[in-house]
Symmetry: C2
Subunit: 212 residues, 2 copies
DNA sequence: TAGATTGTTAATCGATTAACAATC
DNA sequence: TAGATTGTTAATCGATTAACAATC
């Protein structure tokens, strides 16, 4: 029912509303939020009606209440327990990023097949061997996982995760994953993103040359 | 003319075609490529007609020629020279990722405002001070940049980059950027991606409970 | 009330999918 | 030729935008 892109934007709104709240803003109009979010005001209003939140024509939206509504819509259970597979450069950067910063998003277990990493605690997160994955995932009721392993290993990791009951995967490996329909996969391919930016950067650059 | 999503998929096709070529595959049908790319065969054919590449009903597509066509479409000049701003955990992971691996995508300069990092060479890439950015960008004819700085600094960095002539930005900071229309911005927001995956993971999980 | 903002409905836009004729 | 694959055209789908009536 709720469009996929709306979910992503809600996450953005939530963070911006937190910022505004910290600045002492108690009410906000859609066009004000639109200005800092970089989307249209109409789109924000539509996104909010999707999740059943309604504003007031005179006051706009209550910042605190709206933020909480979005939060409970995105994450009703309060805390999301995540797994990370692959503790290389990228994996460690991801661990560092989520360490402490996000109370509601927590990487509770990391996995690697490098014996020198297993058993270590990095950024407050314990590193387990891949053979321990099914047990740890089930014990911690982990629903979603982040894959940050080399491309050739990504599919095997996805298979293990799926077998262990994970229903959501954020894939950083430059590889397409085949999973069942009951598993949601989001690809975050660095090379693809860079090539896209490079392509459009060149296009814009040429545009500027022609019509300066 | 070419849809934005097509550009991203072309990048994927190029990589998969390289893999197939390395395996000795010389010709490939759209449905074969579709199977490993995770998209429909019809979509691949449409994407390829967009860039003016045509296959043969009996032979399919020549793997090598198709890969080269995509490559020259995405990157006619051969090498894309990129800048990286922010040499923290994520920045270093990005440097490590592109170091050596991608001949056609090269981070030729990194920037940071931490005096202890300036002047160092990380993963073969020199770290410059932010004040040197305009000069280095112009000298190296850098068109696109990657922002990996804390959110509060992202807008200022984007402004400096834009002033220096950069027309494409890949933004990893959890912040919306305001730039002119002549600059293309791609957001890669880790928190947003994780929340999205968490949301759909939960939705799929519940779906499975209802109809197992 | 007057007026800016709200939610809703209709129109538009873009991309994908389906159906089909063309090709080697 | 026969047949699978191709490129193209028409229909569908989803999301966004524009227009409008409702609200405080």
């Amino acid at each position: 029912m709720t469009p996929e892109r709306t979910i992503g934007r809600l996450s953005l709104y939530r963070r911006l509303l937190q910022q505004e709240w910290d600045r002492g803003v108690m009410n906000i109009f859609s066009h004000q939020l639109a200005a800092i979010a970089g989307v249209t005001a109409a789109q924000i209003r539509r996104d909010l009606t999707y999740i059943g939140y309604y504003g007031n024509p005179r006051l706009g939206y209550g910042v605190r209440e709206l933020r909480e509504s979005i939060e409970s819509f995105l994450n009703p259970s309060g805390v999301e327990r995540l797994a990370l597979v692959g503790v290389g450069n990228l994996g460690r950067a991801i661990l560092a990023y989520f360490s402490g910063r996000h109370r509601k998003l927590s990487i509770v277990a990391a996995f690697d097949n490098d014996a020198t990493k297993i058993g270590r605690v990095i950024q407050g997160c314990r590193v387990y061997g891949m053979d321990e994955l099914p047990e740890v995932v089930r014990e911690n009721r982990i629903e979603a996982a982040i894959i940050a392993v080399p491309a050739p290993n990504a599919q095997a990791v996805a298979d293990v995760l799926t077998m262990a009951g994970v229903t959501g995967i954020l894939n950083f490996a430059p590889a397409s994953l085949r999973v069942g329909r009951n598993v949601y996969v989001e690809h975050n391919d660095l090379t693809m993103a860079v090539e896209k930016v490079a392509y459009f950067a060149r296009a814009r650059g040429q545009l500027n040359e022609v019509s300066p």
